[in-house]
Each structure stands twice: as C-alpha cells, then as structure tokens.
C-alpha cells in the first residue's frame, strides 16, 4: 500500500529525514517510535504534502502511484488521512459544514453524488457517539475552543467519516487521559480491515497497549534504525532510546 524508499526531506535547508525506508501492506498496523527531533512529524508532513517541506531524495509510492507528485487534496482523495498532532482551529466554519465539504469532495473524486443531507447527519451523529463527543460539536467552529482531547477526538471523527485506506496518526495519544486513549484504541481497532492500514507515530508504548501493531519501527536521526514486533516497544520501554541505539 505504502512504499517509502530512501526518503530524504528538509525544512528551511535542514535535512531531517536522511534515507527513510518503510513498507506497509494492506491491513497492517505499523508504529513508528522515536525521540524528539528524530523526524516523526517531518515524515507525516511530507506524506501530507506540506509545501514547507522539501523532498531532497528518494520516493514514496502509495497505491501504485507516486505520492510526492500529488497535491495534498489528491493524496486525501486517493485514501490518505493524516490525524494531526496539533489540529488548527478554523473560526467561522462549523464542524458539520467542514465534514460535509470534505466527504463530498472525496465522493466527487470517486464520481459519486454528494451525500444526502440526512445520511450525512446520521453518519456524523453515529461518529460523534463513537468518539464520545457531544452533538453540539457539529455546529461549533472547527477545533475552535476545543480542548486538546476534543481536538484529537475530532480528528478521529473525520477519519471515521472519510474512511481512508491509510490512516497516519501523529501522536494521537499525546495529552490524552486514559478514557480518551481507550477511545482512540476502540476507533482504530473498529476500523481495522483487510484493505485499510494504519501508521501510528508515538513517543510512548502506552498507545500500543490499546492498538496492537503488526510492526514497530524505531526512528532516530531521520532513519529507521530498528524494526520488529511488539517486543521492540517493550525493549524500548526498558532501555530507552539511548540504550536501543547503543
């Protein structure tokens, strides 16, 4: 589904990713763990198409096409979803208006008619229940005045409605209490299927207690230095990044 080969990327002339390789097959859940400054967020930004990041080498193939040649909206329409670590607020645009625009933009790309208003409402209500938000969030401006946890739940709501093929969750666990962490686990586990993959990016093992990954990777200095299963995350918990690097 996603093949990253020797990816190098920079921001403002500073190279952050220094030859990253990653291969995700349909249905798999991968976790990337790494210390601060290792390039985790740069990877998500590059995948999303943030124009401030320059790809200086390597390539990314997503579902058989060159991802790096696609505009951000094209990547999303092809099935890529990024759950932001710090989602921006959009004053004046209600959540339901935003969700409708996003869902219908993706439907249009698939030559489908816009979603019926009633169906949209029902699906949003259902999603809101699954991420444990209040229905009033439908009318509130996107992420404006939301707590950190509410923002993360709102990202999950979008993920539920957009039904992407590959979900990249950038520190979906940061700043969350135990209950909110459980919600993240339930939503991701509920969406796991043979044709959908996940890439979890996190500092800590605790998210992986709720979502069992198929593969765990350790990212340091812009490269994956180790790959394995859950035992790698456990080893990391015991020895820390320094111990693992040694």
């Amino acid at each position: 589904m996603l093949n990253i080969e020797n990816l190098r990327a920079a921001i403002e002339g500073k190279e952050i990713l220094q030859g990253l390789d990653l291969h995700i097959r349909p249905g798999e859940v991968h976790a990337i763990m790494g210390p601060n400054g290792s390039g985790k967020s740069t990877l998500t930004r590059v995948l999303s198409g943030d124009p401030r990041y320059q790809v200086t080498g390597g390539g990314v193939d997503f579902l058989g096409a060159n991802l790096l040649e696609q505009a951000p909206e094209q990547r999303a329409r092809n099935g890529l979803f990024l759950s932001y670590q710090y989602p921006v607020a959009i004053p004046g645009v209600s959540n339901i208006q935003f969700l409708k625009a996003a869902v219908n933009a993706q439907r249009e790309a698939q030559n489908l008619p816009p979603m019926d208003a009633l169906q949209m409402l029902e699906r949003t209500r259902e999603g809101i229940k699954r991420v444990s938000l209040d229905e009033s969030f439908m009318q509130r401006p996107v992420n404006e005045g939301f707590s950190g946890g509410e923002k993360k739940r709102n990202e999950l709501l979008q993920m539920l409605l957009l039904e992407p093929r590959l979900c990249v969750l950038d520190e979906a666990d940061s700043g969350l209490d135990i209950d909110a962490l459980k919600v993240v686990g339930e939503v991701v586990n509920g969406m796991r299927e043979a044709n959908r993959s996940f890439l979890l990016i996190t500092h800590y093992r605790r998210l992986l207690d709720h979502i069992a990954p198929d593969h765990v990777h350790i990212l340091t200095a812009g490269k994956i230095i180790a790959s394995g299963g859950m035992e790698l995350a456990e080893q990391l918990e015991r020895s820390g990044y320094r111990g693992l690097a040694a």
């Binding site: 951000p72 909206e73 932001y84 989602p87 004053p91 004046g92 625009a101 996003a102 933009a105």
Partner: protein
C-alpha cells in the same frame, strides 16, 4: 477650480430651484435652507477632509456629472421592485420614491416628513448634531425629492421586521432620505436593502437614513448594499440615542466580480450617544472583488455617562479592489464610565488589492474603558493545508475560509430568516466567482 467647487456650482442652482418651488411647511423649508447654507460653507467632501481621505466624493460626483445629470431623477412609471428579501413588512422604494401606499397601524406609521406637525418636525429635525457634520447629509437634505418618516410609536414592540427595498431601476441620480423615529420604549427591526435592476446601468445613489432612538427604545438596523455593477453609492447613516436606548447595526456589502471601473461605495455612520446608558453595537462585513471600492467610516460620540459602543468590521479585498475601515470613537470631557471598542480584521486575497484600516480613539475623560485595533493579513497557510488534507481543493478551501472569516462580521438580528438571507447575500459573490478573483 477644484472638483468640489466645480461640482458644487452645478448643484447650487438645482437646490435653489428646489427651495424656491417648495410648497411644504415653513419649518421644513428652514431645515432644507439651513442644510444648503452649511453645504455652501463647507463644500462637498473630498480628500481635503480627513474623514473622506480615501473616498473623494467631490471627484466621484464630478466624474459622474460628465456623463449624467446631477438632478434627482423624476419619479418613473415603473414601480416594480425585483427583490428576494424574506417576508417582512415590505416598504418598497424605487429610485428614492415610495412605490406603494404608505402603511400605518396602531404601532407605527410611514408618513412624508411634511405631514408631521410643526412640533414633531422641529423636535425630530433638531435632534442630531451628527448629521450636521457631514456635508453629504446636507446635500441630500437640500435636494432629496421625498423624505419619509417611519415612526414606531411609544411602547410598541414591533415583531415583524420592516423591510425597505431601496431599488435603483435606471441610470441617473437617485436621492433617498428616510428618518426612523423610535419613540420611548419602542422596539423594531429595520432592514434597508439597496439593490438594482439588471439593466440599471450607471447610477449614483445618495442615501441618508437618520435614526432617532428615544429613551429605552431598541432598534436593530441592517444596511445591505447590493448595488449594481456600475453603481456609485454615497450613503450616510446618522443616529441619536437617548437614555438607555440601544442601536444594533449591521452593514454588509457583497462582492461582485463584474464590478465596473466606477463601482464605488462609501458608507458613513455618525452615531451620537447623547444620553446616559446608550448602547451602540455595530457589525460590518464586506467582500470587495474586481475593482470595487468599499469604504466604511464610523464616528461615535460618547456625549454622556455610561455609554457603550462596540464596532467590529471584517473586510476582505480580492483582485484589484480596495477596502477601507476608518473612523473614531470620541469620549467627551467630564463623562464617566464609557466603554468604546473599535476593531477591524481584514484579509487581502491578492497582491493588487488594498486595505486601509484605521480605527481611532479620541478621549477627553479619565474614567473610560476603550480599545481599538486593526489587522490586515492573508489566508492562514496551515488552515488551507488542513482543509486540503481532507480532500477539499484549494479554491473551495479558500471559499470556506473566507466565508468563515466574514461570518464574524455578522450580527444576530434576532430573526433567523434574515440572518440566513444576509449571510447568503454576503457570500454569494464569493461562491459565484469560485472564491473571488484571487
């Protein structure tokens, strides 16, 4: 010879003839004559006046006079008003003339100014020093063929909004003058919607709306400009607020991507918080596109204690348009407990567009709470990217963000149908041109 002098000289014989031919009561004649005298002393407003720095009305009038008559158009034969305003108590005006029978019931009346008693007329017209400071108001007073007074009677709580369609049907000069008088403890909602026939062509709309709010009265007043592509509109709204009166004002100007070279709109708002506890809340929004020129000018005078004023304007300029948000809040000496806020946030969608925003404060009292501020910026790159990463293309994302931005300049009129209608009007220009001509 300057533009102001030259064009004023063209107006003088028109006004003199109008005064000479006036058959109404003496007090009305004196009112118009006084305005004429002031106009001759002050001249027409232009760049030489600080408050008209960005909109040289004298030059606009001069340019208009090169191809069109400055005299008000006579009443036309066609009284049809094409409007899609939501239901309300409809008061249609065509080219400044009332185009229906004047309605009246136990709560309100619409009458020609000349039909007021001398006592009423003198009391009403002596009210506002604000209107005496604007030469444009004097020009309209001296020359408007019809002046109507909408009176909401003391204590009346009128639920159904008054919907005044100010419709320009053809080319030429149109004058509209309206006085809205809320007597003590009355409340009402008034919408004044300026629109034009498709084939109206080049026209000049000179409009004045004078508001008098007596003690304890409450008015929600919306002024919506949807003028034609080749329209020039010089508008002035004046208000005098009595004790504990409240004026909630909304001003909107929707963008149009087909604006002619001389699509220019200037709206001046002169508000006098004349007595203790008066409150003025204003929200404004404009979406200037193509070569539009849109200018809002606010002056608010806190003349008594415990007045409150809160002005917020959201402006957007695309293509080669220009938007202006200007004015000042004045706090008089020896007043106490006044609160004045004046902010303006603006978005530039093109490197060829221009925004001039300068909200000012002028304070002569010690015990006040005041703030002013203005921002001019561009669309937030993170917000744009966020929407794009959800599959929304860039143009649609620009529309969503600009819509969201402008909504902060919308006032809740208390009437859901009107709220929806004006939101649609404001955003229609954006949607038609796919996010304006960025």
């Amino acid at each position: 010879m300057g533009a102001a002098q030259s064009v004023l000289e063209q107006y003088v014989p028109l006004i003199a003839a109008r005064l000479e031919g006036q058959t109404g009561p003496e007090w009305l004649y004196r009112w118009r004559a006084a305005a004429f005298a002031r106009l001759q002393r002050s001249g027409l407003p232009g760049k030489h006046r600080e408050s008209w720095h960005y909109s040289a009305a004298d030059l606009w009038l001069q340019q208009f006079a090169e191809h069109h008559a400055l005299a008000p158009q006579a009443r036309g034969a066609d009284n049809a008003v094409a409007t899609d305003l939501p239901a309300g108590r409809s008061l249609p005006f065509v080219d400044g003339y009332l185009a229906a029978a004047a309605p009246e019931d136990e709560t309100f009346s619409l009458r020609p100014l000349a039909q007021l008693s001398e006592q009423e007329g003198v009391a009403l017209l002596a009210q506002s020093r604000a209107e005496q400071t604007d030469p444009l108001a004097d020009l309209i007073t001296a020359l408007a063929p019809e002046t109507w007074v909408l009176t909401v009677k003391a204590g009346a709580q009128v639920e159904l909004p008054f919907v005044l369609s100010q419709f320009a049907s053809r080319r030429g000069s149109h004058f509209a003058q309206l006085l809205i008088w809320l007597q003590a403890d009355a409340s009402a909602t008034v919408v004044e919607d300026f629109s034009a026939a498709q084939a109206a062509g080049e026209y000049l709309y000179l409009s004045q709306t004078a508001l008098k709010l007596e003690q304890g009265s409450r008015l929600t007043y919306t002024r919506c400009n949807r003028d034609g592509a080749d329209a020039q509109h010089l508008g002035v709204t004046t208000a005098r607020l009595g004790r504990d009166a409240q004026l909630r004002l909304q001003t909107l100007e929707s963008g149009r991507g087909d604006a002619g070279l001389r699509n220019r709109i200037r709206n001046g708002f002169h508000i006098e918080l004349a007595e203790t506890g008066a409150e003025f809340i204003a929200r404004g929004a404009f979406a200037a596109d193509d070569r539009q020129h849109i200018d809002y000018h606010f002056t608010v005078d806190h003349c008594a204690d415990h007045g409150r004023c809160d002005i917020q304007v959201q402006g957007l300029a695309a293509a080669k348009s220009r938007g202006i948000v200007n004015g000042r809040i004045y706090i008089a000496q020896n007043t106490r407990g006044n609160d004045g806020q004046f902010t303006s946030h603006n978005l530039l969608l093109s490197s060829d567009a221009e925004i001039d925003a300068k909200p000012e404060l002028e304070i002569y009292a010690d015990e006040v709470k005041c703030a002013h501020g203005a921002t001019v910026g561009q669309l937030d790159a993170d917000q744009l990217l966020y929407l794009q990463t959800r599959g929304i293309d860039r143009d649609s994302a620009v529309v969503l963000l600009t819509e969201g931005f402008l909504k902060a300049g919308l006032l809740d009129s208390g009437n859901a149908d009107l709220n929806d209608y004006f939101q649609r009007q404001l955003l229609a220009g954006l949607e038609k041109s796919g996010g304006m001509t960025v």
